[in-house]
Amino acid sequence: MIREAVDAVSAGRAGGAAAGEALARAVAFMALFAALNASFRFLARRSLLVTAREVEQGVRRHLFSHVIRLPLPFFHATPTGDVMSRMTNDLTAVWLFLGPGLLTLIGTSISWVMAVAFMLRISPSLTGLSLLIAPLVVLLSREYGRAFHRQHRLVQESLAGMNAALQENVSGIRLVKAFALEAREEERFGRQCREYYRHNLAVARTSAAFHGAIGFLAGAGVALVLYLGGRAVALGELTLGGFVAFNAYLAMLAFPTMAMGWVINLFQRGNAAMGRINEFLRRPTEFEGKGVAAPGVLPLPREDATGDAGEPPLLEVRDLTFAHETGGRGEALRDVSFSLRKGEVTGLAGPTGGGKSTLFSLLLGFHPAPPGTIFWEGRDAAEIPLPELRRRVALVAQDPFLFSESILYNVCFGRDALDPAAAREAVSLARFRDEVEEMPHGFESVVGERGISLSGGQKQRATIARALCSGAPFLLLDDALSAVDAGTEREIFDGILSVRGERTVLFSTHRMASLSRCDRILVLAGGRIVEEGTHDGLLSRRGAYYDLYSRQMLARELEDSS
């Protein structure tokens, strides 16, 4: 900007009279302004881009915090690839607008205003004429923006689809191979790729057309000025310097005008991406509106409570009926009622799909249980804040998930800090200690993604150790020993029984040998508790439990003794 002002001055003087010093002074000014300009731009860039980075960091943080607090059904319904895509690609798109996009927007706006101001000073009529193209540019930009927004959303969606297809294929690779599904998978993935390709090309076409059109419009302005301005100079209405300066200003506007196209591009993309991010942020977290009204943080249940008769049971489930929201699969649980006293070890038996996993999910608050159905020490679970509720319970799930960290980290996952002594104890109880100590790095051994370096039985024992180590008074084991042999299960069960009295245990298994050692057994079938009692009591009733038992007696598990 400054350069052109000086240019005009020097050009004017040079054209009019011989004044070398004036020229030198103008040039010196120009150099000075260039240096100043550079410093300002450095500061502007820095502050703006750094702020954008901070915003990005903040949004990412917020998004992560929010997402991990979304209810579990959300994760069942949303492919991991989609979640990842929003937290990476979409976030980048937002940054690109907030940082470089906004910077360009501000920079070009300033250029515009300044250039137009200077142009007005030189020749208002020429300015008016050359700005005639402005409405065209605006109109074009808006149309373009709309098309671009639509197309970009499609691109982002097909990208997420592609990622999801890929992820699924990698996770199920053995199956793909076993069933020789390579061709089918290639076809499926190829379809996603081509869709992505098609949407990208649509964007490219729009983008190229817009760039060309804007560039042409901007240049047309220059041509117009060249003709009209040139005539004005020839007629003596405008000085030559003024004409040159004016043209230079107009040329300077060409680039920002084109850059506006890019900014609109970024804005639309960022906008589409932010929309996708907001879809997640708008979902209520599972903590919202729950337990907020509870006065203060309630203490954890006392560890050393004496089990006198007047005290309410540790856990009571009353007429619990529950149906999953999705899938339309009917009621998973119907009128389930039972209660557990402190320190009891209760077995949960019953057929697949009988509602065991659903019951566990409800106890942990993964799905909201209807009010007045689950009571912890007499308090309605619906009124207990989720964190407090979950701190009472340590779950060992069917599918053992470990983090790609050390064994120590994984075992201590439920604690606030690493505690090697507690970890060692828990690992011993879970009958995992010898194997851990034989590993090259012992407790510091890293287990790899999803515990890839451990066997199925080792993973299950690690998750049991994790539950024991968390110190929660209530243990929920959801068929957690399916991958260990009967002998190991017996040993682990010994470990669990040794904390009987301190910990309350609800244990679902198909193995009768373990069930027979529980204080009490609940039989859950078809979403109902069909039987309840001790092993011997249930056997003598010759009902559903006896049925299960006699079948298994026939089908005794066969394991190596050594």
């Binding site: 150099a31 550079a38 490219a204 760039h211 041509a223 991958a483």
Partner: protein, 616 residues
């Protein structure tokens, strides 16, 4: 860090300069689309000519018409200018579009090639490569290449053309002033060089941090139920914050460098213009140059310094694209599983009877036969060994045979090698010694499609594809109806609103574990396999469900060979032959009564189980 570890290092962005060999290999993917490339370059050349002629035309207008005040014919020149501009923009459109098509096509081809290759990599590769890493290969790495192809490659050529063209025009118009224009160049180059290295390093570091951040993210999304169950949202958040902060710090460092870079380059460019103005102004005063020349010079000077500004960016794009392509080629260069190789020998297209020179066997050929099979899993490279190093032997001379129509049960403790037997039969891994025969043919001589069409496997982990129940079952084959009713899938599905069209969710997460197993069982049956392989498929199904499946198996097994890794006696009792595995060897085999009568390991196991059960 050895090369074998390449896959474990998320972003091993190379510090070395441009690897020409890699670049050449990359360019090979462009060759099929050379027509488009030629088109892009041609439009680029034409566009550049049009663009560069603009300032010259302005000079003509000023010198011929404006300065002398001669308006006649000026309109023509202006129209010419306009035409040049229209040409420039038209070619710009063509070039941009062609470049996008080129980039996207190459990427599409590369991605499909990678996927096809990946599908054929040995199972060991997937055993030791985390999913996230593989995902990155096919997504971010490929995208980095796309950036190179669509914005880097052609526009670099374009920039170079503009630079050369501008320099030539300047030298032609006025060599002395041209040299003045170039005066700032050495300083500028020095400045760029100084920052370039830092920018590159910061860039690399930032990518590494981002990769770690994303790995953490992915893991916590997959394991979110564990985070929730242990109320560790706070801890996860703190750890995420730390990673996020590290990434942000690195990106701020990079931003600082860039903030210095662009204005700096611009400042030097402006200095050059000021210098030009000074020298040119003086020349103008002395009448050495025309006014129009000076104006044109000022325009050209800008065009000259613009591309230089982008050079560092282009270099970065090139660098990271090369690093990405190195990782991509690593996947493409990985050896495919041997079973995908063409089958040696003449037996290729013969459907079934063995055509080996040996005389036709008089005795009936066993359906499945292991002859002294030795096997060990490759040791994971993480343990510091070479990638193909062998671990301890898992199978140590396993021999057994199973006749057609027989059901064989493999029993034994965890880690005895039972699952391995099934994996080897599917040829997921290559055996070290011995032979595995399927209906008398070595499985190495059976084409993959035929081998896997003969076998049907039920995995321990019942993985389902997202889609409906029906889609999952019909993946196996056409015998869907029978498979559905035999396994009872139709029974539990009929209780749902959507029935068999119920969507199972990612990995089958909407179904219970037992239901998933039933579906995966139905899937295996739907292809009506000649040999059914069951790997503890019933281990977490309750006795009632299992009983149902056993009944179903009773209906389906006659006439079909089955090899079952069994943990339950009901399965074992249903078997015609029982193989007792212990520490990688088959120690006993026979029927249930035979083995009991023999009084060996099996007998001991059986009585131990029985005694324990009656003792409670």
């Amino acid at each position: 860090m050895s090369d074998g570890e390449g896959f474990f290092l998320e972003d091993r962005v190379d510090a070395r300069g441009v690897d020409w060999k890699l670049l050449r290999r990359l360019l090979r993917y462009v060759v099929p689309h050379r027509g488009i490339l030629a088109g892009a370059l041609l439009s680029l050349a034409c566009g550049t000519v049009c663009q560069l002629s603009g300032p010259y035309l302005i000079k003509v207008v000023i010198d011929r018409h404006v300065t002398p005040g001669n308006l006649a014919g000026m309109g023509g020149w202006v129209l010419l200018y306009l035409a040049a501009l229209a040409g420039a923009m038209g070619f710009l459109y063509l070039q941009m579009y062609a470049v996008s098509v080129l980039g996207q096509r190459v990427i599409l081809a590369l991605r499909e090639e990678m996927f096809a290759r990946m599908e054929r990599l040995p199972v060991t590769f997937f055993d030791r490569t985390p999913t996230g890493r593989l995902m990155t290969r096919l997504t971010s790495d490929v995208e980095a290449l796309q950036e190179l192809l669509s914005s880097g490659l052609v526009s670099t050529v374009g920039d170079a053309a503009v630079l050369a063209g501008t320099a030539a025009i300047l030298l032609w118009m006025d060599p002395r002033l041209a040299l003045v224009t170039f005066a700032a160049l050495p300083v500028l180059v020095l400045f760029v060089e100084l920052l370039k290295k830092r920018i590159r390093e910061a860039n690399r570091e930032m990518r590494r941090k981002l990769a770690r951040l994303n790995a953490f993210l992915q893991e916590h999304v997959t394991g979110v139920s564990v985070v929730k169950a242990f109320v560790q949202e706070g801890k996860s958040e703190r750890r995420f914050d730390a990673l996020n902060g590290e990434y942000a710090a690195e990106s701020v460092r990079l931003t600082n460098y860039y903030s210095l870079y662009f204005p700096g380059v611009e400042m030097f460019a402006t200095f050059a213009v000021a210098l030009l103005l000074w020298r040119g102004g003086l020349s103008l005063l002395h009448g050495a140059v025309t006014f129009g020349t000076l104006v044109a010079f000022l325009e050209y000077a800008q065009k000259f310094y613009n591309p230089i500004k982008d050079l560092s960016d282009k270099y970065n794009i090139l660098q990271s694209a090369l690093a990405s392509s190195e990782r991509i080629f690593q996947v493409l260069d990985s050896d495919v599983s041997p079973e995908y190789a063409p089958v040696p020998g003449p037996a290729l297209s013969r459907p079934s009877p063995p055509s080996r020179p040996s005389p036709p066997p008089v005795l009936p050929v066993p359906a499945v036969e292991f002859r002294d099979v030795w096997f060990s899993y490759p040791r994971p490279p993480a343990e510091g060994a070479r990638a193909d190093a062998e671990g301890p032997p898992v199978l140590r001379g396993v021999s057994f045979s199973l006749m057609e129509g027989e059901t064989g049960a493999i029993v034994g403790a965890t880690g005895a090698g039972k699952t391995t037997v099934l994996s080897l039969l599917c040829r997921f891994y290559e055996i070290r010694r011995g032979q595995i025969l399927l209906f008398g043919r070595n499985i190495r001589e059976i084409p993959r499609e035929e081998l896997r069409g003969t076998l049907s496997l039920v995995l321990q982990d019942p993985f389902l594809f997202s889609g409906t129940v029906l889609e999952n079952v019909s993946v196996g084959g056409n015998a869907v109806d029978g498979a559905l009713s035999v396994t009872g899938v139709d029974r539990f599905a009929s209780e749902w609103e959507a029935g068999l069209s119920t969507r199972v969710g990612e990995r089958g997460g909407q179904l219970s574990m037992g239901q998933r197993q039933m579906v995966s069982f139905a899937r295996a049956l739907s292809r009506d396999p000649k040999v059914l392989l069951l790997d503890e498929a019933t281990s977490s199904v309750d006795p009632v469900t299992e009983h149902r499946i056993q009944e179903a198996l009773g209906a389906i097994l006659p006439g079909r060979t089955a090899l079952v890794v069994a943990h339950r006696l009901s399965t074992v009792l249903a078997a015609d032959r029982i193989f007792v595995m212990h520490k990688g060897k088959i120690r006993e085999s026979g029927t249930h009564p035979e083995l009991l009568a023999a009084g060996g390991i099996y007998r001991r196991l059986y009585s131990l189980q029985f005694l324990e059960a009656s003792g409670t």
